[in-house]
Structure formats: structure tokens, C-alpha cells
Symmetry: C2
Subunit: 480 residues, 2 copies
């Protein structure tokens, strides 16, 4: 009997990656040697060594889980990645393409011949095929569609008809259905006829003859039930169900909240049309949080770490351009006060502090509000209440930190009035940040925009221009 | 037979919240009336109305899933939250405390009597109790410990002995164990003796007489197997296992990668000591991404939306203080060039643009690198390669956007040399941002620090001070 492998998955993953990298390095070294010595093709010994590394690499790869191969592909620079991709067993192609990130998938698909792509796509279930379809050349999709039976084609078309972020695009069709008026014994016998139950099967769906969902029979209940008990006595009728048009992010929150493993998807008439599984929901949660982080950092989408420079530039230019525009506006605000700066040059050194602390504080507020909106915890009626609270926080922070800054300014420039302007400007800018931090995301939400996208840039724009205006304006009024 | 509920979980959640809010409002209204009219206590009619709202509210709450009650508690301001909390059925207290966020949990625990806390804690499994223990008064923990049997106490102590972010702190002890040398028929009979299988049971653990893990029997395999087949013929021996000292975030990545529902936790000797379930891993993923977002925004931890002002100030002051320090350093850099600004006041208006675009670009780079490090996709040997790539990206962006800025500066101030300084300074600051963006997180990782914490602040500090220095320095050298 084999002993259970004791190595932890993360260590093993890193080890696999290192092994693959070592084999690639050795292979490149030999190749280099061959190249430099302009070795004759029939120099068998060298040639064998040359091939041996690749054979070893191929053997290594064939033992790995598709998700592990995907991880290795993502961690390799382009030329190594394509070398490894060539060695991967063709039967795993489809699975691996599903696992890699969008950016890396593109590089892999570009390197494949049409017939290879068709072969890879044909290994997949219809719901998986639907996930991949957008990235495949149109010709490939048509060819694969031709090989599907009628039911599969209908499933594929249904899955393709939903937006990426809807439940309908994520559901699969591996449904084990039973009737309510049979005994558990019969169910157990029925299940035994399967070669294999669908992955993640934690419940069996109970439908009537029309296919309308009547309840679910959790496997953990089935296993402890009296074999003679009828399904309808044992099944659960309070079921969390989803509609295909529902947002995937909402479904993921429900999976989190109710600790679900699978859940039925039903249409308006209650007909069971698919199921959601927790592994898809985990991906949704991960992607959602990633896009939030990427967006906060001003990246359009996830980037292949080894993308060519030009691809990276494209991914980043949009936010840089927006940043440039807002910075230019802020610069013009300063420009309007050039006369004042000429007279008190200390203003130039102090103004970025006021703007900076406003941006920081505003981002704190806006992050709180965006999160509360995403979790459905913020009712529109509470805006005013929250605003008052945030004003309180910012007034307090403004007076404390503004005073610290004011004292520093006074000490540095020996000008008490300048210090007082600093206190006032910091406090006012923080209060502006609090106001914008509450109302920017709420307004975006009201107009049906995603408040997570771009609100951080907007608030920084407000607190920069606003901070310069308040500080320089006050200074001009009071000090000149 | 009850019909399956068709409403989608998210709608239902919002509806519940609104209903509760309406009932609270009505209750407050009546209370207000009573107060204003100084109604006599024996005015029975009013009093009945008064109570009726609370009864209705209590009835509503008793029908909800603990997770839904938790959601409502989080969305309510403090005084309403405590009103609702008082009405919640005592049997649900423990579950709900587990579901709410740390900040909200604190407010709830503060409002409870010691004996209520003991009662709530006693409802929980040992692993759940361990999660809560840190937030409970010490006296309560001791009292609850006294009521546990020896095995439970050992489990609790074991769970408490691990750091929060380790597998050991997240595992539970609901293990269904069988021997390898029995038939599937026997296993099915054995399972039927349970009242209920543990939640998420998708596999049964196969151990020898010492308790060493020998394999797992997936339920989906058990259900399709010949009842006469021996467990050892059917079970899987290649099992993903975890060690209690492993990091929870790594375990979550493995759950994601291999689409796991449950997995065994074994000690150094291979002894089965617990199991991980996907619902805990989903929470880990969510928390991890949240702390990343919070940290990017400069918040120490998640905040109760309706926290008192002073609590919010405490949560935010640390990052504001750090921001203030870095801003002050940048301000002193400017201060060193006050003479130059006095001569060319346009420098004051243009310098924030150079600093701002550097910060934006640096944050793009650092986010990429931090993510790649978290996913284990970045090998230390590749730093130089990545740096060259990022330098390329930033040089390109610098020349393009720097030129735009240079042209604008030339047009605005009619000074070609100033425009050229702008181009050079922008490009150099972006290249500084790229360098820091690659090496700050790699250095932090090298010294065992979490690169996600604070790297965004550090890079902004570099690009601000660096940007001012480069721009004003070049201007002083070339224009004066």
C-alpha cells in the first residue's frame, strides 16, 4: 500500500517549479554548447544528452496536476514557457488553458496550431468550453461546436448567452436528479450505476416530471437515513437557489454566508437548469478582490509578469493618463497663486503636505464606504449619518495633525500666522476629503456605476486640487 | 409539500434588513411618543403597540440564518444593533458572534453579561470556541473550559496553541474515520449509525489502528462502488494533506488550486489530527484580500461602519502619521531648493506633477510584484530580469508622458529649457519608481517581512522626495 505523501502542497509546488527551471537551464546550456561548437548533427552522444533533459522534463510534467503545470507556466518567462507548453501531454491542454490567467492564456493560444486548439477544446465540458470560447479563434469554436450533440450545443449556447459576471456563465450542467417519491434505497442503487458522480456532489437534486426543482437531498443526510425512507421525507425543501441572471459576486457572497458546496440554478418557472459549485465561487471571490487591488493601484487588468514591455505599457497607460490630467489641473491651481508663492516661498514647500494628508485620509474613508456598499451593508438613508461621523473623524485628525504641522511650520519659518494657516488648511482639506469620500461612491452607486472603479483617483484629484486651493487661498487672504 | 423558495439570496437579505429597519423605526416612534406625552405606565393600549413591534421583530429574527442576523447587526448603528441583539434568541448567540466582523463582535460582547457569554460559548464546537476565545473575557473562557470533557479540552488547547494564521488554528475535529480492511457495505452501515455527518463531509478518512492516515475514501466514490469492495481498493492514497504549522493562506491557495472541499491535517508522524474545510478557506481568502485593500488605503484593520469617532481615529492615525513623516521629508527636499523656486516660480506648479506620476507608476509596479510574490510565482533569481523589463516600461512611459508634460510646460511658460527639464525629470522619476517598485518588495520578502504591508507608502515616499529632488535639482543645474 502506498504511504500517504506527507509533503505540504506549497513546498511541493515550489520544488516542482525549481526542478523544471533546473531542467530548462540544463537544456539551454546543452543547446548553447551545440550551437557554439557547431556540432555536427550526427554527434550522437551530445544529442542524446540534449534530448535526455527534455525527456526528463516531459516525464516530470506528465506527473503534475494541471493546476500545478499552470502555475509553472505563469512563473516562467515567455521562451521557457513555450518550451514547457510544447512538452505538456496533449490530453492536459484543455484543463491547463482553463487554469492559467487570461494574459498567460493568450500567449499559449497564440503558439498553438488550429488543430491542436480544437483537440484541446474537445476535451472540455460544455461549461468549461464556454469559459474558454471568448479567447479561442472563431474558426476553432465553430469546429468544436460541430462535434457536440444537440443537448451539449444547447448548453454551450445557454452558457455563452450570459455575461461573464452572471451566474449563468459560471454554472455547470452535471446534475444528478431524482424523484421525490422513491426510497433512499432506490436512490443508492441508482447512484451505484454511475461510473463516477460529478465533482463536489454534496447534494442530489429532487425534481418533478417537468424538471421543476422540489428540493435537495444532501448526501450527508442520504448516508444516515433509513434505506426505506422516502426521498420526500428526508429531503430539504428550504433551498438557497440562484437565477442565471444573478450577479456572480452576489452568489459568491451567499456561498460564503451559508457555507454552501453546491447550489441549484433555476429559471423563472422553477425549472432546474444547472448548478453552481464552490470552486467557481472561490475563483469569483479571488478575481473580485484582485480586480479591486489592481484598480486601486491603477492597473487595468492582471498582467503577465513577463509580458513584453509594450503590453505592460498598454495595460498601464490609461490610469497614468488620467493621473496626468488630474495632476495638471492641480498644477494650474498652483499656477493661479504663483504671485503668492513668489512672495512667501515657504508655501511651495508646505503645500504638498496639506494635499498629501488629505489624499491619504480621503482614501481611508472611501475604502470603508466602497466595502460597505459591496457587502450590501450601507443603506442610502444612512449617508448623512455617516457623513457626520466622517466629518467628526476628519476634524479631529485635522486639528491634531494640523497642529503638529503648524508647529513645525512656525518653528521652521518663524512665522506664527503661517503655522495657523497650516492648521486651518489641513483641517479643511481633511473635511473636504471626508465629504468626497462619503459622497463620491454613493453617487456612483446611485448612477449604476461600480464605486470600486476610479473612486480612489477621483478623491485624490479632489484633495490635491482642493488642498492646494485651500492652503494657497488662505495664505493669500491672510498672510499677504 | 413546501414549494422551493424562489427569491434570490441577495434580494432576500436586503429585504430582511429593510424589514428590520422598518420595525425598529416604528418601535422608536412609539417610544418617542410615550416619552413626549409622559404617558402613564398603565396606558395599556399604547404599551401593547409598543411591545407588538418588538414581538414582531423578534419573530422575524428567529426565522433568520445566523449569518443573516450577523449581516443585519453589521448594517445597523450601535443603538439599533444592541436593540436587535437583545431580541435574538439566546441559542443563536454563539453562531452569530462567530459570523460578525471583529469590530462589531467587540460591541456585542461588551453589551453582554458574563453568564450570557458563558451560555453562548458553550453552544460552540471546540474549534469555534478557539476562534472566539481571544475576544472573550478571561473569566468566561475558564468557566467554559471547566464544562468541557478531557478530549474537548485537549482540542481547545491544541487549537489555541497555534497562531491565528496557521492551519492548526483553523482546523476542526469532526473526523469520520474508518479502517482500510473493511468493505464499503460495512462503511455504509457504520455511517448510518450517525445522527448526522459533519458538515462538508465529502471524504472519509482511512487510518490504521494508531490513527496514522492511510488514505481517504471520497463519498462520491463510496456511492458508486460495489458494496463488497474493500476500502483499500477504492480509497485514494495520493492525498493533499496539511500540517498544523503551515500558513493558512498557503492552504487556501491549495484548496483553490485542487478544488478541495475538505482535507486532512496530519502531524509530523502522519497522525490524523484534524481537517480543513472549504468554508474556512473561503474566509481566509476573503480576509487576506480585504487586509490587502485596507492596507493599500492606509487602514489598520476593518472598521465598524458606525464606530464611535474616537475608534475610527485610532484605526487611522498610524498611517496618517507615517504619511505625515514622509510628506515632511518631501517638504524639506523642496525647502532646500527654495532659492530656485523664488527665481522660477513655475517650478512650484510643475513639481507635483512629476512626483504624482512617479507615485502612480511605482504603485503599478509594486502591486504586480507583491501579487507575484504572494502567489509564489516570482523566483529571487528573476529580479534582475524583471527590473530590466520595468525599466523599459517606465522609460517608454516617461518619454511619452514626459514629452506631453514638456510641451505643456513650454506652451504655458514659453520656456523650452523648462520643458526639456520636465521630460528628463519625469523619465528619471519613473525609472526610480520602477527600481524601487521591484526591489522594495523583494527586499522586504528577503528579510521575512510581508511585502504587502507598507510597500505602497514606501514607494510613494521615494517617488515624492525623489521626484522633487530630481526635478528641482535638474532645474537648478540647467536653468539657473
Amino acid at each position: 500500500m502506498t504511504v500517504v505523501e506527507k509533503k505540504q502542497p506549497t513546498d511541493r509546488l515550489q520544488e516542482n517549479l525549481s526542478q523544471v527551471q533546473r531542467l530548462i537551464e540544463r537544456h539551454r546550456l546543452v543547446e548553447d554548447l551545440v550551437h557554439r561548437q557547431e556540432m555536427e548533427k550526427h554527434d550522437l552522444v551530445e544529442n542524446l544528452v540534449h534530448k535526455q533533459n527534455l525527456v526528463e522534463l516531459q516525464h516530470k510534467l506528465s506527473q503534475l496536476h494541471p493546476a500545478d503545470v499552470a502555475h509553472i507556466l505563469e512563473a516562467l518567462p515567455l521562451e521557457d514557457r513555450l518550451l514547457v507548453w510544447d512538452l505538456v501531454k496533449a490530453e492536459q491542454d484543455g484543463e491547463i488553458l482553463l487554469e492559467v490567467s487570461d494574459a498567460v492564456r493568450e500567449t499559449l493560444i497564440e503558439s498553438m496550431e488550429q488543430h491542436e486548439l480544437v483537440a484541446a477544446a474537445e476535451q472540455l465540458d460544455t461549461d468549461e468550453l464556454a469559459d474558454l470560447a471568448a479567447d479561442l479563434p472563431r474558426q476553432v469554436v465553430y469546429e468544436v461546436m460541430g462535434s457536440l450533440d444537440e443537448q451539449e450545443r444547447a448548453q454551450l449556447q445557454s452558457a455563452l448567452s450570459y455575461d461573464e459576471d452572471r451566474v449563468g456563465a459560471l454554472m455547470d450542467f452535471e446534475l444528478v436528479k431524482i424523484r421525490a417519491d422513491v426510497s433512499c434505497e432506490v436512490v443508492l442503487r441508482y447512484l451505484r450505476r454511475f461510473d463516477e458522480l460529478p465533482s463536489h456532489t454534496d447534494k442530489i437534486f429532487v425534481t418533478d416530471e417537468e424538471g421543476v426543482l422540489k428540493g435537495v437531498l444532501p448526501v450527508r443526510k442520504l448516508l444516515v437515513s433509513d434505506p426505506d425512507a422516502q426521498v420526500q421525507e428526508v429531503m430539504a425543501t428550504e433551498v438557497v437557489t440562484f437565477h442565471p441572471e444573478e450577479e456572480a459576486a452576489d452568489a459568491a457572497l451567499a456561498f460564503e454566508r451559508y457555507d454552501l458546496v453546491t447550489a441549484p440554478v433555476i429559471d423563472d418557472k422553477g425549472l432546474l437548469i444547472g448548478r453552481l459549485t464552490v470552486d467557481e465561487m472561490v475563483d469569483v471571490i479571488r478575481e473580485e478582490s484582485e480586480s479591486e487591488v489592481l484598480n486601486l493601484a491603477g492597473l487595468k487588468e492582471e498582467e503577465d509578469l513577463f509580458a513584453p514591455v509594450i503590453d505592460s505599457v498598454k495595460n498601464r497607460w490609461a490610469w497614468l493618463a488620467i493621473n496626468l490630467c488630474t495632476a495638471f489641473v492641480a498644477s494650474r491651481v498652483i499656477g493661479a497663486f504663483e504671485g503668492s508663492i513668489q512672495k512667501i516661498v515657504a508655501l511651495a514647500a508646505l503645500m504638498p503636505i496639506v494635499a498629501g494628508i488629505g489624499g491619504n485620509s480621503g482614501n481611508q474613508t472611501i475604502t470603508m464606504i466602497v466595502r460597505a456598499l459591496a457587502m450590501g451593508q450601507l443603506q442610502p438613508g444612512q449617508a448623512a449619518r455617516l457623513w457626520r461621523k466622517e466629518l467628526g473623524v476628519s476634524a479631529m485628525n485635522g486639528l491634531v495633525w494640523g497642529s503638529v504641522l503648524g508647529l513645525l511650520a512656525w518653528a521652521l519659518y518663524g512665522n506664527l500666522a503661517l503655522g495657523l494657516v497650516m492648521v486651518a488648511a489641513t483641517t479643511l482639506n481633511l473635511m473636504l476629503a471626508a465629504t468626497m469620500g462619503v459622497y463620491i461612491p454613493l453617487t456612483m452607486e446611485k448612477f449604476g456605476k461600480d464605486p470600486a472603479v476610479g473612486s480612489s483617483v477621483m478623491i485624490t484629484a479632489c484633495t490635491d486640487s482642493g488642498g492646494f486651493f485651500i492652503f494657497l487661498g488662505l495664505a493669500t487672504l491672510l498672510l499677504l
